[in-house]
Amino acid sequence: MTDTQTRGRIVVQLIPGLASLRKRGLAGWFAVIGLAMVFVVVLMTATAPWISPHDPNEIGTGPVLGPPSLSFPLGTNHLGQDMLSRLIWGGSTMLQVAALSVLVCFIVGVPVGLLTSYAGGLVDRSASLAMDSIYAFPGLVLAIAIAAMLGPGVVNMSLSIAVVYVPSYYRIVRSQVLSIKELPYVEAARTLGASGRSTLLRYILPNVLPSVVAVATVNFADAILTAAGLTFVGLGLPISTPDWGWDLTYGRRLLPSGAWWVITFPGLMIVILALGFAFVGEGLSELLNPKLEQ
C-alpha cells in the first residue's frame, strides 16, 4: 500500500510541476522542448508501420546510393534501401535498449543504495567501494567487455549498459539517504516507533525519488549514446533490425563516395533523441534544485 501511495504522491507532484514548467524560465523551457523532442521520436517510432513509405529491409527499393530525391526524400543506401523508412523504424531499438537499461538501473541501484546506506557501517563501506570501482571505470569499455561476452540482443545490450550506470543511481540515493536520515522528522518517526522498513519506505524514499528521476532522465541520454557506441564498435544487433546506430556505422564505409545522406539523418536522429532527454534532465535537475540557479 505504501508503495502505491508513494508513487501516487510523486505523480501528483509532477503534474502541476509540468503545467507550471514554462513559467520557470530557461529551465522550464529546457524541460518542455526536451519533452517535445522525445515525444516526437516516440510517436514516430510507435506509428512506424503506418507512416513508413517502404519496407525498411527491402533491398533494391530504390537506386543504389541515390541522393535525396522526391521519391526518396532522404536518399537510399548501398543496398538501395529507403533511408526514410529505415529512419522511421530505426528508433525502436534505441528506445527499447534505453528504457530497459534505465529500468534495470532503477530496480538495482535504488534498493541497494537505500538499504546499504541506511544500514551504514561495514555494509555501507563495502557497497561504496564496489560501486566506486565500477564508477571509476571507463563506462564504454566496461559495456564493451560485457556486451562482447554476452553476445548481441536487445536484453544483453541493455544489461551491459545498465551495469555501467547502476553506480550513478546508487551514489545519488546514498548521498540523499545520508543527509535525510539525520533530519529531525526522520528521527521523530523513529522515536515514535516506526520500524526500519517503514522509515525507509514512507519517510526517506519519497524524498530520495525526485533526484533519482533527474538522474534517470539524463541516464536515458547516456544509454542511447552508449548503445550507439556499442553498435559502432561492432557489438550491435543483427543487420535485419533497422537501427540508426547501425546505419551510421555502416555509413562510415560509404563516406569516401560522398554519400552524406546515409550518415547525416540517422546521426541527427540520435542527437535529437539524446538531446531531448538531456534537456529534460537539465531542466528537471534545475527545477528540483533551485539553489543551483539563482
Binding site: A148, V233, I263
Partner: protein, 343 residues
C-alpha cells in the same frame, strides 16, 4: 592529517579498488555465459582442436587456478597471449598506447581551452542570449555521438573541401624517428614530440594536420562539461565580497573576470580534468575507430571483431589501471593544492 598520511591512505584505498576491478574483468570474461574459445571459432573447429586451443591458453585449468595465474601474470606485467596470433598482448598494447596518449592530450587541451573560454564568456553575459546559446552548446556537445561529429568533420574538411586528411596518423614513410645522436636513439612514440626531436618541421606539420580533426572532434565533445563548470564557478565567485571590493577599487571588468574569478575556478577545472579522463578514453575508442587512428581503442575494436578475448581482457585491464592511476595522481595533486581536502 598530513599530506604524507593522506597520500598513503589514498594509495591503500586504490589497492582494493584495482583488485575489485581485476576480479570484475575476470568474472566478465571467464564466468559470464559465452565460451571465449567457442565464440572465437564460431563452430568451425573439431572438438579436438578446441581442446588443444583451450589447453594452450590455460583455459582447461580449474577456475581458481586461472584466477591466480591471471593475477600473478599481471604482477609480472604479463597480459597473456593473443588468441588470434599468440603474440604478447602487453607488447601490442604498449606499441599502440602512444597514439592514444597523443590524441588524448591534444583533445584535453582543446576541451579545456574551448570550455573555459566559452564558460567565462557565458558568466560575463549572464542570462543574455549569448549565455543561453553557450549553455545550449554545452548540452548539445554532450548529446552528440563522438563518431557522428567525426564523420561530419570528415565529410566537410576531408571529402568536401579536401583540406585535411580523413584518417590515419601520418602518411606512410613520414613517421618521425625521434632523436638520433650517433648510435643513441630516443623516441617517445608521440609524433609531435618525435618530429621536434628530429628537427623536421615538415613532419611536425604533417603530424598536426593528421591530429587536427580527431582531436577537435573529441575535444568539442568533452568541452561541454568544462563550459558548465567554468560558468557556474565564475558566477558563484563573481558574487563574492572580494570581487565587489575589487570592482569598487576601480579594477577593469577584464581584470576582475580573468584575474580574480577565473583564477578561483582553476582547482575545480583541474579535478574535472582528472574525472574526465575515463570519458576521454571511452571517447578515444570511438574517435580512433572513426579516424582509423592506430591507438589502443582501435586495437580493442579490431580485437572485438576477431573475438580475441585475451587481447580484449588485456586492453580493458590496461584502461582500468590507467584510470585508477590517473585518479590517484589527481587526488594527491588536489590535496597538495587545497589543504582542506586532507581534513
Amino acid at each position: 592529517m598530513t599530506l604524507r598520511s593522506y597520500v598513503i591512505g589514498r594509495i591503500l584505498l586504490t589497492i582494493p579498488m584495482i583488485l575489485l576491478l581485476l576480479t570484475l574483468v575476470f568474472i566478465i570474461v571467464r564466468i559470464l555465459p559465452g565460451d571465449p574459445v567457442l565464440v572465437h571459432f564460431e563452430k568451425k573447429a573439431t572438438p579436438a582442436m578446441i581442446e588443444e586451443f583451450r589447453h594452450q591458453l590455460g583455459l582447461d585449468k580449474p577456475l581458481e587456478q586461472q584466477y591466480g595465474d591471471y593475477l600473478l601474470g599481471l604482477l609480472r606485467g604479463d597480459l597473456g597471449k593473443s588468441m588470434a596470433d599468440f603474440s604478447s598482448v602487453g607488447q601490442q598494447i604498449f606499441t599502440a598506447f602512444p597514439a592514444t596518449l597523443e590524441l588524448s592530450i591534444f583533445s584535453m587541451i582543446i576541451a579545456v581551452l574551448l570550455g573555459v573560454f566559452l564558460g567565462a564568456r557565458a558568466s560575463r553575459s549572464y542570462n543574455s542570449v549569448e549565455d543561453h546559446s553557450i549553455r545550449v552548446f554545452g548540452i548539445v556537445s554532450y548529446a552528440i555521438p563522438v563518431f557522428f561529429l567525426g564523420m561530419v568533420f570528415q565529410l566537410i574538411f576531408g571529402i568536401g573541401l579536401h583540406i585535411l586528411p580523413t584518417g590515419g596518423r601520418i602518411s606512410p614513410g613520414m613517421e618521425p624517428h625521434g632523436l638520433a645522436l650517433g648510435d643513441f636513439r630516443f623516441s617517445t612514440g608521440l609524433y609531435t614530440v618525435d618530429s621536434v626531436l628530429e628537427g623536421d618541421p615538415s613532419k611536425l606539420f604533417a603530424t598536426l594536420r593528421y591530429l587536427l580533426l580527431p582531436s577537435l572532434t573529441l575535444g568539442i565533445v568533452l568541452s561541454g562539461i568544462f563550459v558548465r563548470l567554468t560558468r557556474s564557478n565564475m558566477l558563484e565567485t563573481l558574487r563574492l565580497d572580494f570581487v565587489t571590493a575589487a570592482r569598487a577599487r576601480g579594477l577593469s571588468e577584464r581584470a576582475v573576470l580573468y584575474g580574480y574569478a577565473l583564477r578561483n575556478a582553476f582547482l575545480p577545472i583541474l579535478t574535472m580534468m582528472g574525472l574526465q579522463f575515463a570519458a576521454l578514453l571511452a571517447g578515444a575508442i570511438l574517435t580512433e575507430t572513426t579516424f582509423s587512428w592506430p591507438g589502443l581503442g582501435r586495437y580493442l575494436v579490431d580485437r572485438i571483431a576477431f573475438r580475441d578475448y585475451t587481447a580484449i581482457q588485456g586492453a580493458i585491464v590496461f584502461f582500468g589501471l590507467l584510470v585508477a592511476l590517473v585518479s590517484l595522481v589527481v587526488d594527491i595533486l588536489y590535496a597538495y593544492l587545497d589543504p582542506r581536502i586532507r581534513l
